[in-house]
């Protein structure tokens, strides 16, 4: 049971990473990051159950809280980026280029 859960978590995380790397739309990247966070959450609860402790589940609550805050801030940034550049394509957002 634990093996399947971790395997599923790993696949989910990889899909998230590939999404972050390949997508150029800020919203899609944002969603991929959420996917990665949730993959981690999944392994947290799975391992928590395996060890019989509560720390993993507490961590998941933390992560979900932080992810909610992040979503609020992140979406606000995306909106202001869109207002400024008229696009959410990150390839065009490179004013800080060294």
């Amino acid at each position: 049971m634990i093996a399947e859960a971790l395997f599923f978590s790993a696949i989910l995380f990889t899909i998230g990473v590939v999404g972050v790397l390949t997508r150029r739309n800020a919203l899609m990247i944002f969603m991929s990051v959420e996917l990665m966070l949730n993959a981690v959450n999944l392994s947290f609860v799975a391992l928590s159950r395996l060890h019989g402790g509560a720390e993993g589940q507490v961590f998941v609550i933390f992560v979900m809280t932080v992810a909610a805050a992040e979503a609020a801030v992140g979406l606000a940034i995306v909106i202001s980026v869109f207002r400024h550049f008229k696009t959410v394509d990150l390839a065009n957002v490179n004013l800080l280029k060294g």
């Binding site: 790397l21 150029r24 990150l90 280029k97």
Partner: protein, 723 residues
């Protein structure tokens, strides 16, 4: 007897006498150097930056001595220098003479009088002090240096009076005398070495005195560099002495040598050969003689003082000082003798075809120094020092006379507005005697002395050397041994023959020089002829004094065979210093030659000089000589001699050229520019710059590419942890 024993171990008889002031003798010239040095620097300080409108060429008609074109000295510094420069030498000479008087009392100088002024290098077993040693040899050298030095300082007042560097010149000259006195008074090899290097420095400074002409600066460098080779030998000899005998002062070395059998020690031979390398450098012997003729680029009084009378005899002095050391090594003594004999003959032949009046004298000096080395090599130390003394008289006179001639030539050219003519080339002279009778007369005296005409000073000293060589061919250390398969006595007879031939050639080239310079028709431009005048008295005065010395200098050591008293003064005087070494070289006891043999030897020497003089009068046609401009290039053997056997060219091709090209290609372009500049300095900068460039490339501003790098990095780390 008891008193003597107490004396030998106790207080030296000279303690408390005027001889304790010996330190003042070198100190006075040092004081002169400081004062004159200030006189040379102060005007520049007060005058501010040099006047850019001054053309350095204006004071020089051409290369060589040319200090005569400016007006008389106008500033007070020059007048003060005129007083201070010669005065310190006069005081120094007077003091030396007074000390000499004190040492004449019987028995006071049976042991050297050593004055220690402080510790220099107290290192474990070896302790070196600042100490002066007064003995018969250093006394004689001190008198020669200060006496002749004073005369040359006086001459310089006239000769250099129009030169812009007047005070600088006297500062250097005073400094030279200081170092030379340290050299002869030093009681140990390191103290001698201080003086040795010091005179080398002054020689360099004075050769390139007119440094705004490259040829003079080059000559100074050449002298300095060639002398470095010799100094290397001197240093190695000192290291070996310290390592093997644990002493570097003369008393200590002599004590360590007690009981050593002649020829038994390879170490002593090595030490002597290295020491002789130093002497060959300083005293211009084969193969290190090449710097001395070039040293004639300096002012002529400098040539007289440094490159004829004093500094170049330092090598002879050092061999005499180390007499016992050389006496214990027949091989080293043989080398000294052979090198001396070969140099004497070789340089004399070059002197035959030189046209520059100073070059003739320079090669003559090299040749006469060879004579001295023959004498000290065979252990006839007195003869060597005797010739050193008389040579100082007549060669200083010849150089000062040459200076007087050059001085007159410059004035004549200047007065007649002749430019570009060589004032030192004898082909441009001729008939100068009419205008300058004193110079001609005095130089003839010196010429007769150097040629060995009977009863002039050089006759006695040269004859004593030749007689000693003949004597040693019968008995003595060198005669008993064989070298390169040939018995030593045969070598000695060969050296005797070379000495005779050299004497003949010397007579020829000296007479040639005198005839071409002072006699025959004048080859000066017609307008210049009437302007040839005698120099002022400050210049002719020293000539006359040296002329008298050149004539009567022989009384210092008249051989018994002439039955003139007092005889052999110098030999008795020097006996406490060199007697032991001479006895070893003579093989234990000196058997005097039969009177008839000695007369025959004297006749041989006289015949050689007479033939030489007659040859020069018969063969040379002063009337057929043409000026330097019109002269064709020399051909055949004459060309070889005129070009000094092409020794300089050979050294250039074989040593200097490859060395320069090696340094330029490998050391400069390869190591310096390639490795140090390229690889290390620029390489470091290049690495930093490339890393900066790579880093800046990574910072694209594209978040996506950052994410890629991040992921790749994590994967690499993961891989590293897992595998």
């Amino acid at each position: 007897m008891i008193l003597q024993a107490a004396d030998a171990s106790g207080v030296h008889p000279l303690v408390g006498s005027v001889a304790e002031l010996i330190w003042l003798v070198p100190l006075l010239p040092l004081l002169g150097f400081i004062i004159n040095g200030l006189f040379a620097l102060l005007p520049a300080y007060y005058a501010g930056p040099a006047d850019p409108s001054h053309d350095p060429e204006a004071g020089h008609v051409h290369a060589g001595d040319a200090a005569f074109e400016h007006g008389p000295p106008s500033d007070r510094w020059k007048r003060l220098t005129t007083i201070v420069g010669p005065l310190v030498l006069a005081l120094s000479f007077l003091l030396a003479a007074i000390i000499f008087g004190a040492t004449l009392a019987p028995g006071v100088l049976e042991r050297p009088f050593i004055q220690t002024y402080g510790e220099w290098m107290p290192t474990g077993d070896l302790s070196i002090d600042w100490a002066f040693q007064l003995d018969q040899l250093s006394m004689l050298m001190t008198l020669i240096i200060t006496g002749i030095g004073f005369l040359i300082h006086v001459f310089s007042v006239g000769y250099m009076r129009a030169d812009a560097g007047y005070s600088r010149y006297f500062a250097y000259l005073n400094l030279f005398v200081f170092f030379m006195l340290v050299l002869v008074l030093g009681s140990s090899y390191p103290v001698i070495f201080v003086g040795w290097e010091g005179v080398g420095l002054c020689s360099y400074l004075l050769i390139s005195f007119w440094f705004d002409e490259k040829v003079n600066a080059d000559a100074g460098k050449k002298a300095f560099i060639v002398n470095r080779i010799g100094d290397f030998g001197f240093l190695v000899a000192m290291f070996l002495l310290a390592a093997n005998f644990g002493a570097l002062d003369f008393a200590g070395v002599e004590a360590a040598l007690a009981g050593v059998d002649p020829g038994s020690s390879a170490v002593i031979t090595t030490i002597c050969l290295f020491l002789f390398l130093g002497c060959a450098g300083k005293s211009a012997q084969m193969p290190l003689y090449v710097w001395l003729p070039d040293a004639m680029a300096g002012p002529t009084p400098v040539s007289a003082l440094i490159h004829a009378a004093t500094m170049v005899t330092a090598g002879v002095y050092l061999v005499v000082r180390s007499g016992l050391l050389f006496a214990l090594s027949p091989t080293a003594s043989f080398v000294v003798m052979i090198v001396g004999a070969f140099t004497a003959l070789f340089a004399a032949t070059i002197g035959l075809k030189q046209w520059d009046i100073k070059k003739v004298l320079a090669y003559s000096t090299v040749s006469q120094l060879g004579y001295m080395f023959v004498a000290v090599g065979i252990g006839a130390h007195t003869a060597g020092v005797f010739h050193l003394t008389t040579h100082a008289f007549f060669k200083a006179l010849l150089f000062l006379g040459a200076g007087s001639v050059i001085h007159a030539m410059h004035h004549a050219h200047h007065a007649a507005h002749v430019h570009g003519e060589d004032a030192q080339d004898m082909r441009n002279m001729g008939g100068l005697g009419a205008g300058m009778p004193w110079t001609r007369a005095m130089m003839w005296l010196a010429t007769l002395a150097i040629a060995g005409v009977p009863f002039f000073s050089g006759f006695f000293s040269k004859d004593e050397i030749l007689t000693s060589v003949f004597m040693r061919s019968r008995e003595g250390l060198i005669a008993q041994n064989s070298f390169l398969g040939i018995p030593g006595s045969a070598w000695l007879l060969g050296v005797y023959g070379a000495g005779l031939v050299t004497a003949l050639i010397t007579a020829v080239y000296m007479t040639r020089m005198m005839r071409y310079t002072f006699h025959g028709p004048s080859r000066l431009p017609a307008a210049a002829r009437e302007h040839v005048h005698e120099a002022p008295w400050v210049m002719t005065g020293p000539l006359v004094v040296l002329g008298v010395l050149s004539v009567v200098g022989g009384v210092l050591n008249i051989p018994h065979v002439f039955h003139i008293e007092p005889s052999l003064l110098l030999e008795h005087w020097l006996d406490p210093v060199v007697g032991a070494a001479t006895l070893v070289m003579a093989g234990g006891a000196v058997t005097p030659l039969a009177a008839t043999t000695e007369y025959a030897l004297v006749s041989g020497a006289v015949a050689a000089s007479a033939i030489g003089i007659v040859l020069a009068f018969v063969l040379l046609k002063t009337g057929e000589l043409v000026t330097k401009r019109e002269s064709p290039a020399e051909r055949g053997m004459q060309g070889v001699l005129a070009n000094k056997y092409y020794v300089d060219e050979v050294i250039d091709r074989a040593l200097v050229g490859p060395l320069v090209s090696f340094s330029r290609r490998l050391l400069w372009r390869g190591v310096d520019l390639g490795v140090i500049d390229g690889l290390l300095v620029n390489g470091t900068a290049y690495v930093a710059r490339s890393m900066g460039w790579a880093g800046s490339r990574m910072q694209s501003g594209n978040v996506g590419s950052y994410a890629w790098i991040l992921v790749i990095g994590v994967l690499v780390l993961l891989a590293a942890i897992i595998f």
